[in-house]
């Protein structure tokens, strides 16, 4: 067993870092879309409009009940066979789509729980001054639910960053894909994957710090 080849790692790391924007870009885009979709699904789950509610339940059940990798393959390889106009869907778009749908199913549930966690008196006070349902959701309930949901949602974001590594199976040269390619020509698998592991680790650690700061900030404003 040989010692780690540090010079290879030192040379690989800067190259891999140039792929970090693709990884973070997919995760950020996925997170933003998932937040919007999840909020919508959560509001449907809270207000329970007849047909939409059942459809939402079905959606959530499917995307929580199947592996993300299967969903990605379904979008990337499967969909273009059915909708021929989708032939041009590239790996990055398919990944963002997959991450969005998959994670929104989970996030909808935590946002729903956070909305339910906002004290009933807040809704009553808003109604009593004559706000509409939309106004009270937007101005009173959702902002307070956000504070409750932020820690969980940040965890999903971290999870999402790690999940972008699956994009390499769709031919995207993000962090993981780039590592895989480099390793298969250098044959230094251990060094290569250790390097990429450390990069993911550092990114996630930094985000955890940011998460703590964000929570502190949100709580400072109106802690109970």
């Amino acid at each position: 067993m040989s010692v780690l080849d540090f010079s290879y790692m030192a040379q690989l790391a800067p190259y891999l870092l140039t792929k970090l924007p693709i990884t973070l870009g997919m995760a950020s885009a996925g997170m933003l879309c998932a937040l919007v979709l999840a909020s919508l699904l959560a509001v449907i789950r809270v207000t329970r409009p007849p047909v939409l509610n059942q459809l939402t339940l079905l959606f959530i059940s499917f995307f929580r009940g199947t592996p993300l990798l299967v969903q990605l393959f379904l979008f990337y390889y499967g969909l273009p066979q059915i909708f021929t106009s989708l032939v041009k869907v590239d790996g990055i778009t398919a990944t963002i789509l997959g991450l969005t749908l998959h994670f929104s199913a989970y996030m909808a549930e935590s946002i729903r729980a956070a909305i339910a966690g906002v004290d009933r008196s807040q809704t009553e006070a808003a109604l009593s001054i004559g706000m509409t349902q939309g106004q009270l959701m937007r101005r009173i309930v959702l902002p307070q639910a956000t504070r409750i949901a932020v820690p969980t949602l940040m965890n999903y974001f971290i999870d999402m960053i790690k999940s972008t590594s699956l994009a390499f199976t769709l031919g995207v040269t993000e962090l993981m894909g780039a590592t895989q390619k480099d390793a298969s020509s250098s044959f230094m698998y251990f060094e290569a994957f250790l390097t990429v592991a450390i990069i993911y680790w550092v990114v996630v650690e930094l985000l955890s710090r940011l998460q703590k700061m964000l929570e502190h900030r949100l709580n400072r404003a109106y802690a109970r």
């Binding site: 004290d119 008196s121 807040q122 009553e124 006070a125 808003a126 109604l127 009593s128 001054i129 004559g130 706000m131 509409t132 106004q135 101005r139 009173i140 902002p143 307070q144 504070r147 404003a221 109106y222 802690a223 109970r224």
Partner: protein
């Protein structure tokens, strides 16, 4: 003037309000008393349409609403013309004291932000909180929170302010400052309907005291008369309980 007629409210198969008829004159201060579970809160909540009555009518200004078939627009109109002060204050936790008061002016009445903020500060000044405008509810004492709650209700410029046991959740030390603000409002002839156990407040401030039991108005009259010479045996027995032997 506000007129309620034949107001009925049921929850499941229990009739909580059993045909309430009531007229509230402009500038009148009404105190509602009665045993627990009698429908006092429900009555106030129906007037603000936090509860939807089964049947009955309300007229208020040009509004005439048949509760049995109230439209969403009528519901909003009624809520906007009546203000509510909650037992547990129910201040918006994500808004400062000033913004709690300004919220409705901005969102419901469409005032420009700056004007709404100025008005909110004016109202906070009047409840003695001119220096706490930037504080979030969590940083305020119970008494301060309830005074913000009253300022928020005042901002509505409503036909009536409905108080549901505004001092019941307060530590004793904060009760007087809240009652003080309410007395000041009363002296300006703000129409008020107050559910409370503060009998001294009722004696000092009310134009009329209403005794409710079992979802009905049993007896009403000026405080002097109702407290010293109650006609109905139920009123007498209730007053004996809450006032000791003095009734």
């Amino acid at each position: 003037m506000i007129t309620l007629s034949r107001l009925v409210k049921t929850f499941g198969n229990s009739t909580v309000l059993d045909g309430i008829d009531l007229t509230i004159e402009k500038g009148e201060i009404i105190v509602v008393i009665g045993p627990s579970g009698t429908g006092k809160s429900t009555l106030l909540r129906c007037i603000n349409m936090l509860e939807t009555p089964d049947s009955g009518e309300i007229s208020l200004n040009k509004l005439r609403i048949d509760f049995a078939k109230a439209s969403r627009a009528e519901q909003l109109a009624l809520r906007r013309n009546t203000a509510f002060v909650f037992q547990n204050y129910a201040l918006f936790a994500n808004r400062t004291a000033r913004d709690n008061v300004a919220e409705r002016l901005i969102v419901v009445d469409g005032w420009p932000r700056a004007r709404a903020h100025a008005r909110a500060m004016e109202l906070l000044e009047r409840v003695g909180l001119g220096d706490r405008g930037n504080a979030y509810p969590s940083a305020l004492s119970g008494g301060q929170q309830q005074r913000v709650g009253i300022a928020r209700a005042m901002a509505a410029d409503a036909e009536v302010i409905l108080f549901d046991e505004p001092t019941s959740a307060l530590d004793p030390e904060w009760v007087e400052e809240v009652l003080g603000v309410m007395k000041q409002l009363a002296s300006q002839r703000q129409t008020m309907m107050v559910v409370t156990h503060e009998m001294q407040f009722a004696r000092d401030v009310a134009d009329r005291v209403i005794f409710m039991e079992g979802g009905r108005i049993v007896e009403q009259g000026p405080p002097d008369q109702l407290f010293s010479d109650p006609k109905d045996p139920r009123t007498r027995s209730f007053l004996r309980k809450v006032l000791g032997t003095s009734a």
